[in-house]
Point group: D2
């Protein structure tokens, strides 16, 4: 089958997230990397292009140049989709330009800087009927997908509590380091990161995971955010109380100052009959404690899983797949959409998930600024 010709904005030498996207695209095997504007410095961009074996004529100096040149190529050679893996502040204008020029887009999160931008992108996607996939990578794990399927099937009874956590500790060495060290981290700079560091970077993953796994929407949030250290202007830590329709409540806890934590994203959805618990650092287990019998533990590559979960794992059981494969599953879902094939809702996050994420981030920031009051999401 012919590969989808993929371009990339960002992801130059040393940028781990761009490398992750390229690996994921290669794993799923539906794409070939056709070109890109990998860096604001053209030499670095070319260094990457050479390493990847890309035609140097398709190594562009920026997004505009990429669009202009690619549009001149015949349809059978032209890029079909472009991955946007630049810092937060650039996502919106780049994604908008690409969509307007007719390219499908895979975009890193958070999708934009403001809710308004997010809504504008969503309208554009609706108008153009292009595929827009947002890299909420964790929704690509088979057991997260199984969680979604089980909950959709009603096995938990009434959902009575939702609790999600995303704890890291990596920023400790930054904030306890020198001032120049702090100045060198773009996530700590509102101009590049937007209104939030912790919530925009990782809290939004916990939020997305809740809405993905349960199919429910958070209606209101009350946030208590903290810069942790004097002199830091964005949140590095926070707790967000959640309300859903009915009596349901929940909580998101996110922090980048939890010394020794690596990438501890976890979710628990508690029901009247049973519950589901999943943790990203051991992603191939899905725990289902129950009120009425022994706990059960789901694992990938078994016929007892849903189709959505099973098609997301390719090795036989007991052979652990990891985060690259999770992202590859999202690329796989996007490829189906790009090709006009049928796919299951949940195979990749869309622009609407991006809108929800921006609403969450801004509700959290607004709630905190107003003195920890309830704000609509």
């Amino acid at each position: 089958m012919e590969k989808i010709r993929l371009g990339m904005i960002g992801g130059g030498p040393g940028a781990f997230i761009g490398d992750a996207h390229r690996r994921a695209a290669r794993i799923c095997n539906d794409y070939e990397l056709a070109g890109g504007a990998f860096s604001t410095e053209i030499e670095k961009s070319r260094e990457l292009a050479e390493k990847e074996g890309i035609d140097m004529a398709r190594c562009y100096k920026n997004t505009d140049a990429l669009i202009e040149s690619e549009k001149k190529l015949p349809p059978g050679r032209r890029m079909q989709a472009v991955s946007v893996v630049t810092p937060n502040a650039l996502h919106f204008t780049q994604a908008r330009a690409l969509l307007e020029a007719g390219f499908h887009v895979v975009c890193e999160k958070p999708m934009t800087m403001t809710v308004g931008e997010a809504v504008e992108l969503a309208k554009l996607v609706a108008a153009t009927n292009l595929t827009f996939a947002l890299a909420h990578t964790y929704t690509g794990y088979p057991m997260v997908r199984q969680m979604r399927s089980i909950i959709a099937g009603g096995a938990l009874g009434t959902i009575q509590r939702i609790d999600a956590q995303y704890y890291q500790g990596w920023i400790n060495s930054v904030i306890n380091g020198s001032d120049s060290r702090i100045a060198g981290v773009w996530r700590l700079n509102p101009a590049h990161a937007g209104a939030s560091c912790c919530m925009a970077d990782i809290g939004v993953h916990a939020f997305n995971l809740i809405e993905y796994a349960t199919g429910l929407e958070v209606s209101e949030a009350l946030a208590d955010l903290s810069p942790v250290k004097d002199g830091i202007s964005l949140d590095l830590d926070g707790t967000v109380l959640l309300r859903f329709a009915g009596n349901l409540k929940g909580v998101i806890r996110a922090s980048q100052v939890c010394g020794g934590e690596e990438n501890n994203l976890s979710i628990a959805v508690y029901g009247s009959k049973a519950s589901l618990k999943w943790s990203q650092e051991n992603p191939n287990l899905l725990h289902m404690p129950s009120d009425t019998g022994p706990a059960t533990v789901y694992r990938p590559a078994h016929s007892y899983n849903s189709q959505l979960a099973e098609q997301s794992h390719t090795m036989p059981c007991g052979h652990p797949e990891g985060i690259y494969e999770a992202l590859a599953n999202i690329y796989k879902g996007a490829a189906k959409s790009i090709r006009g094939e049928e796919y299951i809702r949940g195979e990749f996050p869309t622009v609407l998930d991006g809108v929800r994420g921006m609403k969450f981030i801004h509700a959290a920031v607004a709630s905190n600024k107003a003195g920890n009051i309830w704000v609509k999401v």
Copy 2:
């Protein structure tokens, strides 16, 4: 060594907590059960006394009768300490009467119904110089004690976040059962349980664990509590945001409606250099993830532990001790105090811990009632 003569109020046939206290007292081997008022029904009280092999003359109809009769006995026969293991609403008057009559007291938690009562008890304990031990059983685990010792030693650096959880699911079958089932549970009745169900029953354990392990005091709380189901008048679920001195924030999550959870009390204390994580359902492990090296895992019965931790485990390493032994450790600490022996602060929770607990419960309830605002603890 002569045993301490112990009485008991409550703990009749079928009451699991009274049985737990008797077992704990036997395990630590510093007490003999001399008598008690085990039930409001004297026949049941006698049934228990007979099973325990207690002199029927010391099986009393109530607290007053116990006090009156025991005070007439010669000092060498008279009870020295009394365990109060009745429902919440009775703790205060019984404990006060016992203290006023000169008995040392071991009391179940929550210590009282109001902060005022708690403060009154604290004054009484100070005035009488008697021993008052509160059954915050989880502080009896060796690895909780090791946690306290490590934090006191400063190994975590600056504490940057505190997160404690107490999740259970047992009340699901009650609230999703019949009305008469609900009516039969005293914890759901404000007259017997006080202002709170979930926070008073289990949230307070998480609170106590935080203050015990870190040596810090919670300064303010913002609570979002939920009765979960229409028709329930007390909280069965809640999240409480916490503030401490300085920039430090934290969170307590507690719920009795987490389907399939058993007794999932966990605490994580995150520092700038390293962190500590402990979970009650696997109590003999203490995890210490670190920013600067591999994680370490502490276990009991090793010379690398503190004296406070080591004297709290009697078997050789690898032989798991459990919750009865944790409670026995508290009885052991109280026995040292009763006998006037030296002990380490932290060997048993005192009346002051009880005051703190009542302040927490009432701050949480007040915050929730006022629309989720910050309240001093």
Copy 3:
């Protein structure tokens, strides 16, 4: 209910196993410690008696003195059962004397030094109709009992492989220490320990656990044992291949030189339909992986467990009980037998389990001596 009057041979000051037996007896609450010969040095024996609050007249200088004096007491005062917690070499003569004098016996393992002695004890128990309980403590854990119940119920299908392990590391510091350190450890001295160190001390627990959990008998063994270090005369490490009736095979691995292991006794029984896995260091979980669905995890204090398992756990679910409670369950079972009450086979290990254990130890030693050949068990 009147307590069973219990005596004890061995278990003087500082002996941890005697202390464990006394705690277990107190936890189960069916016994009172009436006296004993706690040490070969009468001063030490008296020190223990005083600490335990025992009538000094019943603190005896040795087993013979105990028997002689106790037999003179009226039946209503006389000891009914005696715990033998001395070094291996003494079990046989002490237990025999006690049985011949009409006392019920609780005995530490290994039961005797030779198979002949074990068989003689078994005959004596049969002839006297007295209760003889062997302290295979691990069979007192609720989840081991649940394992036995599940296997007896046939849920595993055909058993196809059995694997048990008992790894410790405590002897490392001894054998890598000074010669005098080695000389001071009686387990390394054939005169006191018998034909084996590792297999007699811990291998036999793994063996007993296999026969207890599965209800099957090992028919043959091929052992490869190792003293690990030059100058040591007994095995500190070994692997024993097992054969059962039919095509079934298995293996026992035991070692005391596994640096950093604590008390890692584990068993896995693999069936054609499902399997069961249990580990002593996390005793309240029983894992049941399955060929036909998600794994299940059993825990104590649930109505889905068998009666044998459920009566072996007294706290509500999620409150971990440990090794003292396991031993208390064995004392509880023995108490039922002593009192002539009904009990379930499996509530305590009997003299026949002791005979099996001795056969295993001697088969392993004989196989190893003969150059690793198959020997009947």
Copy 4:
């Protein structure tokens, strides 16, 4: 950088191991798939070639055709390396032909059917100076590599026991199914699988892992193998006692009939000072229990790991990589060797590891056939 042109023998549509090799090659990004003989049926081979986007002229009917045609291509177009992912019986002749024709080889395990063939291949590799990488995938995991580095550094003290396990249950449904089901599994047919099923398929992985992690050689083996069911002619289960130089002993346990086990490969190496334990189903943890302090737990992506381990993980810490990435690490190591770059011994298994593996398999079979006696490896 120019990609290495890779061919493949085997790995047609539906063959999971061929797909795994292709993914691994894509992940490591040093190869491009240039052609192959993917199936004995040319239509299937073409189906695969089309799916992969391969020039149909380089889709060959068999190994000979591939060699003949590729050798005619100019050096700059010709395949440089070929992956052999066919059933066991074909590895030897295919690998030999490829080496003789000057191609580097990546080969699935077991490398050959006999020790003689293995030795012949080793001589050929030595004579040609070509790269030969054997797919002992598990040695590609970062934490296995860290284990090797730690042991090489001497941190364990004297190694005193080695224990490796590989348990699966997948063959249960085959052997408990119909005769035709059994006939359809080539691993059960000696003509295709060789002298062994279980030991050749998975036992050899455990063996390789031991020699890889410790740097020690197994000197002798005593095996007890079992076909488990009447009518099966090869081993599906077995235990192999191991001897090393000095007093060191160990054991390998392998089985394909452990109901509910998935791919449970584990290794423990016990030393006089500390030990290391790793398990394939949770591959990003390396446990190091110790005699002298708390246990430590290593994880990937930390500067405390060795270079060999660190270069084998590309994501930041806490982002789990899995088995595809492990195989990719082996392809990466082979690529370095093919390109003449420097690499660390241990980056990929060589033909000598294949010789060792064949010696182990045949020693195990010979020992079992001779009645469980010691055989040199």
